[in-house]
């Protein structure tokens, strides 16, 4: 008897609670790694926290970590929509089709998919021009390498990653014509042990600069153990490895975007958009360039950053050729967003094939 009344009390309390929260906006986040990865997912979660801080009681956020890319993501996104989320951010490329599928079933829920290209009436896409940051990294890498071998831990062969490789290579080559890139496709966004192995393999083969497009800090630790290898923070500042081996970083800052989009849902002004911002808009930040970098190189890198931020220079400015030697961009010509968004080729000088 007592238990029944207790249950009834709980049910009533829950009912009251949901009633009281009816005018809050519920925002869901789907993460590909753990929030403590120190990289990609960590920064998305910082964005989520910024939303909470901005709106306080008016917003309720939920998130699910470690959601595998592929079919399982559909289940998680559906679950979030069923739980009454008004706005859902799916924060990895591999959730693209799943996001679109779920969005069809929940026309009133707004969806935001990171780094993809498929939109719908209730699906926006957003991404950052990480390749702008890669240009700065490439410049520093080209200047700093002594062995002229730069290692690159790539994740999956998607346009975003290929853009990064090309941009870094172009700018390393510009300051160091002898530079060579060794690229390893790890086929994972997050696997510290494998990332460490990849970094070690690159270092054993002579790389003294390691760039990464995977999310954990494991390559930083491998570089630190090797002693004479420099790295760059990826997605997050990774400042715990500064000033050496980490000499700079690309920092994703999602907070302003997440706050603006949440506000739009609250105000009822949300529309499907395609956002692609870079250093200029503040979505891509360049982490502090440490003292391990000579002052003149640092000054050049900062000048390059400023030129990109102001829009006077694009990292993909001709003359540029594709890997097969065919012409891509003429002298002074810059790449259009369509080509960049679907980039599936290396620029001239890079070795190896992109996995298809």
């Amino acid at each position: 008897m007592k238990r029944t009344s207790l249950l009834a009390g709980v049910a009533l309390a829950l009912g009251l609670a949901t009633g009281a929260m009816a005018d809050t906006t519920k925002v869901g986040f789907v993460y590909v790694g753990p929030v403590g990865d120190g990289g990609w997912t960590y920064e998305h979660d910082q964005g989520r926290k910024a939303v909470v801080e901005e709106f306080g009681d008016k917003v309720e956020t939920v998130y699910v970590e470690n959601v595998a890319e592929g079919p399982d993501a559909e289940r998680v996104i559906t679950q979030m929509a069923l739980q009454g989320a008004d706005l859902i951010f799916t924060t990895s490329f591999g959730y693209m089709d799943q996001t679109v599928n779920v969005a069809k079933k929940f026309p009133k829920v707004k969806f935001e998919h990171a780094t993809g290209y498929k939109t719908a009436d209730n699906v926006s896409v957003y991404s950052a021009r990480f390749y702008e940051g890669r240009a700065v990294q490439g410049h520093i890498a080209g200047k700093m390498t002594k062995s002229n071998i730069v290692g690159y831990i790539a994740s999956f062969p998607i346009p975003e990653v290929i853009r990064g490789i090309n941009s870094a290579y172009i700018h390393a080559k510009k300051v160091n014509p002898d530079v060579q890139f060794k690229i390893i496709w790890a086929y994972t966004w997050f696997d510290p042990a494998k990332e460490a192995d990849a970094a070690k393999a690159l270092i054993e083969q002579g790389a003294d600069v390691v760039l990464q497009h995977t999310d954990s800090t494991a390559p930083q630790a491998a570089a630190k153990a090797a002693g004479n290898v420099i790295t760059f923070g990826q997605a997050s500042d990774m400042s715990e490895y500064a000033p050496f081996p980490r000499v700079s970083s690309i920092i994703d800052d999602w907070a302003p975007y997440y706050i603006a989009r949440t506000k739009a849902v609250m105000d009822g002004t949300w529309t499907s958009t395609n956002t692609w911002d870079g250093i200029g808009a503040g979505m891509v930040g360049i982490g502090e360039i440490s003292d391990a970098v000579p002052a003149d190189v640092k000054a050049e890198a900062l000048a390059l950053k400023d030129a990109i931020a102001s829009g006077e220079y694009s990292p993909f400015t001709g003359p540029l050729k594709k890997q097969d030697g065919s012409d891509w961009l003429g002298d002074g010509e810059t790449a259009d967003d369509g080509t960049l968004a679907g980039m599936n080729f290396y620029v001239e000088g890079l070795e190896g094939d992109i996995p298809q």
Binding site: Q205, A218, E351
Partner: protein
Amino acid sequence: MDLSAINPILLIASLMVAATPLLLAAVGELVVEKAGVLNLGVEGMMIVGAISGFSIAVETGSPWLGFLASAVGGAVLSLLFVILTQVALANQVASGLALTLFGLGISSLMGQSYVGVKPPATPDLYIPILSDIPVIGPIVFSHDLILYLGIMIVAAVWATLKYTRVGLILRAVGENHDAAHALGYKVVRIRIMAIMFGGACAGLGGAYISLIRVPQWTEGMTAGIGWIALALVVFASWKPWRVLLGAYLFGGITVLQLNLQAAGVAIPVEYLAMSPYIITILVLVILSADKSSAPASLGRIFHASH
């Protein structure tokens, strides 16, 4: 393509390092399964071992105390599995899955203040003369002690299962727990000890990742190695030396394929990326053509009244 960029000596040395976490976890699970218990919580016990070992190593400054703590941590977590399956007689598959989920969660809680911390270095063994022999020295005589411990555990498990009374009893419990019970053996007690041994080994394997192979703490850093260990035990037909072979093959090809990629070998990357799985499975399946089968009581619940 520039194969000369690959240094075979460094390659073999680093494949042994890459294989060790898998080896430790798999040989522990082998003993558990030989006792007739299927513990799917290897991943959870590994990650708890990884953070237990990491935190103790950081706090005390001693990697050895860290490894000790990791074994204790893994074994303590496995006690939860013991309570569920051996005392409460819950389903082993469900309990094991729960153990993994719980382990991942509690490890990230325990690890909150250890993100970005550098652990004390684990010294590599250095034996005068032996370590200086060209080729053999760097491959055989200059690793950390835990790597050798892993190989010794495999040898000890093999010898114990094959030649000792303890091993015979353990196998009897795994093959037919009712008969073993009728003979007067304490089935539950033996299984509890086997499960704790498995937990300790998995914990050591996890700490090997967080203290030596990576070395740092990151949430979820075992990234599925526990599951590969589970599969490895099956493909190795519950035989210790085959677990060693499988772990070295898997670790070796993983490292080799990364090296081949870096050297720019003209094999499509997709094939290289799947090669560790395919080759390990192929070799072990071919080896297991001798009709060795799973312990007959594997995964079945035992209660003395049955």
